[in-house]
Structure formats: C-alpha cells, structure tokens
Subunit: 335 residues, 2 copies
Amino acid sequence: MSDSVESNRKLSYQQVLALFASDLEAIERSIFDSLDSRNELLQEIMTYIARSGGKRLRPLLVCICAKLNGYEGQDHVALGNVVEYLHAATLLHDDVLDSASLRRGAPSANSKWGNHFAVLGGDYLYTSAFDILLRRFPRDIIQVLCRASLDMIEGEVLQRQWRGRTDITEGTYFEIISLKTASLIAAGCRTGGILGGASSAQARNLKEFGKSLGTAFQVIDDTLDYIADPEKLGKILGGDLRQGTITLPLIYLLQDLPAGPEKTAVEELVSQGDPGDEAVALVISLLEEHGSGTKALATAAKYAEASKENLASFAGSAMHPALIAAADYIIHRSH
Amino acid sequence: MSDSVESNRKLSYQQVLALFASDLEAIERSIFDSLDSRNELLQEIMTYIARSGGKRLRPLLVCICAKLNGYEGQDHVALGNVVEYLHAATLLHDDVLDSASLRRGAPSANSKWGNHFAVLGGDYLYTSAFDILLRRFPRDIIQVLCRASLDMIEGEVLQRQWRGRTDITEGTYFEIISLKTASLIAAGCRTGGILGGASSAQARNLKEFGKSLGTAFQVIDDTLDYIADPEKLGKILGGDLRQGTITLPLIYLLQDLPAGPEKTAVEELVSQGDPGDEAVALVISLLEEHGSGTKALATAAKYAEASKENLASFAGSAMHPALIAAADYIIHRSH
C-alpha cells in the first residue's frame, strides 16, 4: 500500500487497485515463486494455470480486510496467494469435469495436457495451498479455509445434481452459489481480518460481508454468461446453458414466461442437454425480451448493497472506502 | 489392544490383527462415522469408497507405531482413519483417471456414479482428512501428511509420464513407487510414532522403516498383478500392462530377454498401448519362463528385510514383534 487514505472518502476501483498495487504485485510474484514441485511437467501446468490469472479479486479482498485494523505485517501476501491457489484448483477441476476447452480466452489446462495431468495439477496446487498455510498461519485461519474448501466441493456436487432440472428453485440456486463461490470469498475476507487482528465480532462481520458480496459476484457472473460481450468474457455466451446449469436469469425467465409453447420449448431444450447455438440464441433473446437478465442484475445489486451493512464496525478505518469500492465494482463490471 | 506381549516374542500377522482388533474396529467405526457431508450423494459415494475397504494396513501400522513407546491415548484411531482417507482418495482419483471399472472385485465409484461425482467424492474425502487433522492434531503431524500428499501426486504424475516407455530404468521405477506408495506408509509410521512420543531420531527411524516397507509392499503389488490368483486379487491380471504402466517384473524381463524378435514383440506391445488378453498372456508366460516375477519378489523381500534394520531403537518395546510381523506379512501375502 503506497499511502493512506482518509476514511469515508469515496474511492474508485481503479484507485483501490493503485493503492494496493505493490501488495498485488507481491502476491503475483508469490503465486509464481511458491510453485514448488520437483516435477517439471507439474511445474509447467501449475505455472500455466497461475498465469491464466483473472481478476485477483480474492487476494485483493484479503489485503483490504487484513489492513482494516492497520495490519503492517507481510503475511497477507502468502494468504492472498493461498486463496488464489484454492480458487484456481477449483476452476481446474471444474474445467476437467466439464471438458471445457477454453478458460479466459485461452486453451484450458485439460485441453493442453489432457485430463489426467490437469486433475493432478489441480490436486497439487490445492495441497500446496495447505502446505503454505501449515508453514506459517495460525490454526483458526487454516481451519476456516479447509471448511470453505469442503463447502466448495459440496456446492459443485449440488450444482451437478440439479443440471438440466427446470424445477430448480431460487432457494436451491442461492444455496449452490453460497457454497460454491461465496464460501471462499467469505473465508478470504474473514481470514484476512483475523490476520489483521480483527475481533471475533469483526471477523464474523467480514465473513457475512464476503458471503453477500460473493453471492452478488456469482449472480453477475451467471448473468454476464448471457449478456456480456463474448470477447471481453473470453468464452462463448450461454456456457452454463450448454452444460445444463440453470442459473438465476434462466430461473427468472422460467418464472416469467406464461405457460405455452415458448415455455415448453425452453424447458425442453434445457432438460435435453447440449443445446446448439440456435437454441442458445433463442434463450438469450427471450431473456432480453422478458428483462430476466436485468432482473438478475438488480438482485445482484441488492446483495452487494446488503454486504456493505456488515461494515459498520469498520466505518472509522482508512480501508473502509476500499471495501465499499470493491463491492461497487463487482456490480458494475462488464466481464 | 487387549493385552501386552513380551518383547522379541515372534508373532504371526494373525496374532497382530487379534492384538489390535479393538483398535482396528474403532478405526473402522471412525471411518464411517467421520463422513460428514450434508449432501446425501456425497455421503453415499464416500461410504461406498470407505466400505470397499481393503487391508487397512496403513491404519494398523499407525496403531503399532503409536504404541511402540507405550502410548495410551485414543488419537491413534483418528490418525489411522485420516491416513486411510488419504489413501482412499488417491485410489479414487486413480480409478477415475484410468477409467477403471473394478476396484477390489466390485464396481468402482466412477463406474457407479460417473467421473464427475467420483472426482468430487475423492476431493471431499481428501479435504475431510485435513479437517479432522486440524481439529485435534499437532502441526508437525499435519505437515508430514501434507508433504506425503504432495509426494503421492508427484509420483502419480511421474508414473503417467513414463507410461508405455520401455526405456524406463529401475531407478525411475523406484523413484515413482517411493513417491506414490512408500511416502504415505512412511508418513503413517512416522506420525504414529510422533503421536506416541517417539524421539526425533525414532521418528526418523520409523519413517525409514515405512519407506522400505512401502517399497516392498508396492513391488509385491506390482508382481501380484502378473502372478496372483485373479479371484483373490479382485481384478484381472496384467492391469498395469494394459494401461502401459511398466513395473519391476517387466523391467526385469526387458533386461533379461536377449535382443531378438521376442524382445521386440514385448517392447512393441508395451509401447503401442492397450494390449489384449493374448498379448498379456504372452508377457505372463515370458515372465514365468525367465523368472522375472520371482526376481521381483526377491527384491521386495530385500526391502522388507532392510526395513527391519531401522527398528533397533525399539528392540525393547513390546510392539517390536508386531512391526516385524507386519513386515513379514507384506512379503508373504498372496493378494
């Protein structure tokens, strides 16, 4: 962090990134330097996964939450690194399980090295995260991240159990994304806070903040999958629909479509699986016509607003505006 | 453990099993009772994997090593459970990666639930092991098991890199099985010892004991894959050969076969991959003719004998004969 900011000053996300530039660079170096296998192929696979990067939102949240109470140590770098490893390992296993060929616009690890080595690369990355944690972090931090990992797996299982089932409810959808996505973001915020000396009550607040924010994040992600610019997104639109994963925009569409041939057609193409480009285009145009995407974005905005309510006890912190800016960014991102 | 034994008394493996019957039963209960997912499908998959069981050799070694110095606590039960979870999770991922349809004579988890759910079941079991460790075990024990997990993954990668390559050396073979199999057995012996209050030197001895014993165990396993009674083995013979994994008996055969059409034929069927029943039968008869299986068994026996040399500092322990019996059993088992 290059300099301090006055509390309650409003910050843009770009300003937050600038404020944490040196921390994020240190995390980026750590992400590469901590890959530590004697096996060259494993090293190559993991470097590729680490490089395919992404927004590094989770490490940023770890940094901000660690510094809410004025933390001046350096362990937030390793913690941010670990949270990103856990995230990347999950993505990798998901890609393999889905036989995805692209990840953020580049060939996925499984399409480059085959499923075997990609699964094992994910296993190694995941275990490396715990190896780093065990070397230097207090037990409560490791436990929070271990429980979050269990949640992520449960979420992934639940999501797959509901594939192609148009009777999925909003409640089940939110249960899935809470486990699959929000749990790790919540754990990152909470452990960042613990590292920075947050009280138990503050750590709980940060967990709840991360949970709402993570939910908003995933709803946006699921909505962008239908309405984004495919080039910015780095993958073709309708990816979830193509694999039978029914997310909030589609749940809203199914709620809002009157009974009739149109609704039946949508239900059939979802439950039969593997819809082609034409079917995806039809659903996208129906989503637009019925405003289901806009409705999902509004729901995400509600979660993002609600997340901020957990930050009252940090109102005096110089880092408070940075968390607010992160919450706002999540809603306004386009990819 | 029902009663104590005099040191240096010779024990049979059956006597060892009887001596540890109540510990092994407690571990068996723990293996089932510790499965703790809210998701019914995950619970069902993990129960199935846990039930498919096997010899529970690793938990037994944990028990014996914990009691070498007279440990009277109960945490060896949870530790034995954890080591078995780590082992089972590895088997599960291996089965998925190999699309194995049978495991110990029963349908494999991936053939019952599909690859997706089997991989996730393995992930959950693996993470549950660390969750249990974090709840009650000292950090050094958790770290040893985390490092062993990294070794196991590296070993699996290395083994796959050498598939179908007849230029594999004995040295590479032993490196692979040391990482893939011996590391967890060594970690089980070492952490059992640490739990029971072993000195650093004793813990190192137990690690070396487990490493040699684990190596012997895997060489026997790889040899039984060619020479066992298929019914006792619970799978068809030549499984390694069919997937292109070149193990010690075949390495010996390739060393001992004179240059000529027979050797060329074997090299070709190995490197081309997916040999049929006839090709497997040919290799098995050549192995018998050239005594390559017998030679591999003799090598295993040497490792098992060498393992005992690490036990000198425990010669006065009532548990010393139990470790000797375990080492002897490994050599003489038929499946």
